[in-house]
Symmetry: C2
C-alpha cells in the first residue's frame, strides 16, 4: 500500500466534512430547510454533489447532523447562561431568555430545525433535539420547585409547553416580523419570557426583575 491516511489527509477530510455541514447550516439560515438541497450545498462547500455522499450517507443524515449540531450549540448556550445565574429562579429565567434570544435572532434556522417541512425523514433527530432542550428546561424548573420558588408541577410537560409558547410566538407564522429593530426584538423576548415564567408559577413582580436581569447578559449571545 502506497496511500495511507496521513494526519494531513485526515485533517483535510474533517475540514471538508465540516465545510459541507457549515454550507448546509448557512443555507438553512438564509432560506430555511427548503434551501438545503444537495446540489446547492455542494456548490457552497466547493465540492461536487457526489462528494457530499462520501461524507453523509443520505440527505437525511446530513440534515440530522445539522439539527444535532445546532441543538448542541443551543444547549451549551442555555447551560452557560443558566449556570451563571445566582439562583434557581434566575437560572430558569436566563435559560428561557437564552432560548428566546436564540430563536428570534436566527428565525429561519430555528424554524428549519424545529418545524419546517423537509422532504426526508428527520423526525428522530428533531425529537432528540427537543428532548435535550426540554430536558434542560425541565431540570431548571425542577430546581426552582425544589428551592420552593415554584409550585410543584409536571415539569416535563411544563417545559414542553413553555418551549412551544416561545417557538410559536417568536418564530411561528403569527410571529410579529420586527425584522430588525433591536428594541422591538428585546420587547418581544421580554414579553414572551415573562409569559412563560408566569405559566410555571413565577410571581409577576419577581418575574420582572428576573427577566430584566436575564435579558441583558443574554443579548451578548446573539453574535456567538
Amino acid at each position: 500500500m502506497v496511500y495511507r491516511r496521513t494526519h494531513q489527509v485526515v485533517k483535510r477530510l474533517a475540514a471538508r466534512r465540516s465545510a459541507i455541514l457549515t454550507a448546509a447550516r448557512d443555507a438553512a439560515a438564509e432560506g430555511g430547510m427548503a434551501a438545503v438541497q444537495i446540489a446547492p450545498v455542494a456548490v457552497r462547500a466547493n465540492v461536487a454533489a457526489g462528494t457530499v455522499y462520501r461524507y453523509f450517507p443520505s440527505k437525511a443524515d446530513l440534515i440530522s447532523e445539522l439539527i444535532a449540531e445546532v441543538s448542541r450549540d443551543e444547549l451549551a448556550a442555555i447551560r452557560r447562561a443558566a449556570d451563571a445565574a445566582p439562583g434557581p429562579s434566575s437560572a430558569l429565567a436566563a435559560a428561557v431568555t437564552t432560548v428566546a434570544v436564540h430563536v428570534i435572532s436566527q428565525r429561519k434556522l430555528a424554524w428549519g430545525i424545529l418545524a419546517e417541512p423537509v422532504d426526508v425523514d428527520v423526525t428522530a433527530s428533531r425529537l432528540a433535539s427537543r428532548r435535550e432542550i426540554a430536558g434542560e428546561i425541565s431540570g431548571r424548573i425542577d430546581a426552582a420547585v425544589r428551592a420552593g420558588h415554584l409550585p410543584a408541577q409536571d415539569t416535563a410537560l411544563a417545559a414542553t409547553a413553555l418551549l412551544g409558547a416561545l417557538h410559536e410566538s417568536l418564530v411561528g407564522p403569527l410571529a410579529p416580523d420586527n425584522t430588525d429593530d433591536p428594541g422591538r426584538l428585546r420587547d418581544a423576548v421580554q414579553t414572551v419570557t415573562l409569559l412563560a415564567l408566569r405559566a410555571v408559577g413565577v410571581m409577576d413582580a419577581r418575574a420582572r426583575g428576573l427577566v430584566v436581569q436575564a435579558v441583558l447578559p443574554a443579548k451578548t449571545l446573539v453574535g456567538a
Copy 2:
C-alpha cells in the same frame, strides 16, 4: 343544448366534492397529511384520480380547503363553549379547554393541520387558520382584561404563545402518548389549560375552579 345542470346533478356534484373532502379528512385523521395523496384519496372517495381535479385545481387547493374546513369547525366549537360560559374568565378557560380537548382527541389531524410537513404550499391556509383561532382567543383574553380579571398585556402575542403551548405539549413530538386512557387525557388537558391560564395571569386558586368547570362540559364535544 340537451344537457343541463339539473337540481339532481348539482346535488350529486356537491356530494362528490364533499366526499372527496371527507376522504381527505379521513386520510389525514388516520395517517396525517402524508396520507393525503391524490390517488389514495380518490380511491377512498370512489372516484378516479383525474376526477379530483374537476373539483380542486390542485392538491394545494384540496388541502387548503381541508384546513379551512377543520378550522371553521374548531372555531365554531370554541365560540360555542366560550359563549356558554358565565363570565369572561370562564369563557377564556372554556375556549382554551376546547382547543385542548379538540387537538388531543384528534392528534393526527391536528398535527397535520397545524404543522406537519406537506409537499405543497399551504402556508397561506395555515396562516389564516391560526389567525382565526388566535384572534378568537385573543378576544377572549381581552374581554377578561377589560373585566379587570387579568393584567393588561399584548393579547395577540399572548394568544399565540398560549396556542403554541397547547399544541406543542399535546400534539407535538414530545407529547405524552396516552393513546387512549381517558383519565390521563383529561389530566393532560387540565394541567396544560392551567398552565396556559397562568401564563396570561389567571390566579392559581381561581384557575382551578375555572378549569374544572370548563373541562367537564367540553368533554361532550369530543364526539362532535
